[in-house]
């Protein structure tokens, strides 16, 4: 194996996150790109995962104000649609951590 390949292997290690973190910043989009119109306006956030990294993702199931520092957890949701007969893309979003009843 060449040194370059070794370096790439070291840099890109697979890792599974717990899927929990907090809102680091956020915005509400009024002008969405194609494929996201039916969800607009929607909330996009930078989520700081508990393990450290930031990730860009939508906040979903939003009812009420959002603040920097809010605890969130990952959920699987529909991200976008490519027209009436096109692909439906699923992926990760985050929602506020629900309090346990």
């Amino acid at each position: 194996m060449s040194d370059l390949n070794k370096q790439a292997e070291l840099l890109h290690e697979r890792f599974t996150f717990a899927g929990t973190g907090e809102v680091f910043s956020f915005t509400t989009l009024q002008e969405p790109p194609e494929g996201f119109e039916e969800q607009a306006p929607y909330v996009l956030a930078l989520v700081k995962l508990d393990e450290g990294p930031l990730v860009t993702a939508q906040l979903t199931d939003v009812d009420g104000p959002i603040e920097i520092g809010d605890r969130v957890e990952m959920v699987t949701r529909k991200l976008s649609t490519e027209g009436g007969k096109g692909m439906i893309v699923y992926g990760y979003k985050f929602r506020k951590v629900l309090s346990r009843a």
Binding site: P32, P33, L44, L46, Q58, G91
Partner: protein
């Protein structure tokens, strides 16, 4: 390496050019720049264009534009680095001439942004953010700028109103230039209440998508002196990068690429930030102006906005910025923006800036960013 100078400038007004195509805009700017330099032929043409593929369904602009401008046969191709494409083309031309590979080169930045509207335009401009980890989540460049701005406001405990000076200054200067897209003035106190685009970014904060083309003719400094009375020397040319995705930055509120490219430029030109008479920075959003001033040595971290609180950034201030309106008022023709900055800086250094003239301008810095600083290309020009 040979010394390099700019000997011709040209530009179209910035706006919605529904009656002109990419090739027509580019040729208009090229013809003006060639005439300005007193030349009819060059050895190479380097184009800056960001969204030709996604807005105009057109790539391969080198061959297209060279032929349409009557220069068929010469070396010609596009340099792409999102909104920094124009500066990338200038730097490519600089390297070609400095190296001795090319004697005289044209640089043209050209963009047609307004031939699409709504979600299609947002989609077309979204190709320059991280497709897999940002665009796939529904992010846009404006939304990413908004999250950067909100975090800045949170960490430094400032309100939206502290950013208004950047837009007021840009529109005051753009109002004096017939080449600017939006020449209206913004009254103090009106900024924070403007309609939201992606909160906290509003209409008075973000630069408008625009059409336009700007061009430069460059050659060796030695040859330049024989051709024109006032060649403008390129004293520094440097490029640097930061992560493409905003979320991958270890220090979100610091424009590492802007810092690296500016300090390389200071070293090349053997100057300090305080030597600079005017700075055409990349004011696509007021948060970018703020963070740029912090990254390039004009303000401490968390205090870039303070320069916009005083008259420091005005035409008569210590550090005039956006002297022809910047991206905010002149308009943001994406891949052409960096070439407009260079044209405007040349006019300032020649003393040909008219109502926008900065008195006794000798040294100008221009910095063109791709996205939110993922690419940063800096040039220092000297009279």
């Amino acid at each position: 390496m040979r010394d390099v100078a700019i000997i011709g400038v040209g530009r179209t007004p910035v706006g919605e050019h529904w009656g002109s195509s990419l090739r027509m805009l580019a040729a208009d700017a090229i013809n003006e720049a060639l005439k300005n330099a007193g030349l009819t032929q060059v050895d190479a043409l380097y184009l800056g264009n960001a969204y030709g593929a996604s807005v105009s369904s057109q790539t391969h602009l080198g061959a297209l534009v060279a032929d349409y401008a009557g220069l068929s046969g010469i070396e010609a191709y596009t340099c792409e680095a999102a909104e920094a494409s124009g500066a990338a083309a200038l730097r490519t031309a600089y390297m070609a001439v400095a190296s001795g590979s090319v004697e005289t080169a044209l640089v043209v930045g050209v963009e047609k942004s307004t031939d699409t509207v709504g979600g299609a335009r947002v989609m077309a401009r979204n190709v320059s953010i991280d497709a897999d980890f940002e665009a796939a989540q529904g992010a846009t460049i404006t939304a990413l700028a908004a999250m950067l701005m909100r975090r800045y406001m949170h960490e430094y405990h400032v309100g939206l109103d502290v950013f208004e000076g950047f837009s007021i200054n840009a529109h005051a200067n753009g109002g004096r230039s017939e080449y600017a897209m939006f020449r209206n003035t913004i009254k103090p106190g009106r900024f924070a209440g403007a309609p939201l685009v992606s909160d906290p970014v509003n209409l008075f904060d973000s630069a408008p998508d625009a059409d336009g083309a700007a061009a430069l003719v460059i050659t060796t400094a030695e040859r330049a002196g024989d051709l024109v009375p006032q060649p403008i020397r390129i004293a520094a040319s440097s490029a640097a990068t930061d992560t493409l995705a905003l979320h991958d930055r270890s220090d979100l509120l610091y424009l590492k690429g802007a810092n690296l490219s500016a300090y390389k430029a200071y070293q090349q030109a053997a100057i300090q930030p305080s030597d600079i008479d005017l700075f055409e920075l990349h004011d696509a959003f007021t948060i970018l102006s703020t963070l740029t001033l912090e990254a390039t040595g004009f303000a401490e971290r968390g205090e870039g906005w303070k320069l916009a609180q005083s008259n420091a950034i005005g035409l008569a201030g210590d550090l005039p910025i956006s002297t022809f309106g910047g991206l905010k008022s002149r308009g943001n023709p994406a891949g052409a923006a960096g070439v407009y900055q260079a044209v405007e800086a040349c006019l300032q250094l020649r003393g040909e800036a008219g109502a926008n003239q900065v008195a006794n301008a000798r040294i100008a810095m221009i910095q063109n960013l791709g996205g939110l600083g993922s690419t940063a290309i800096t040039h220092v020009l000297k009279a």
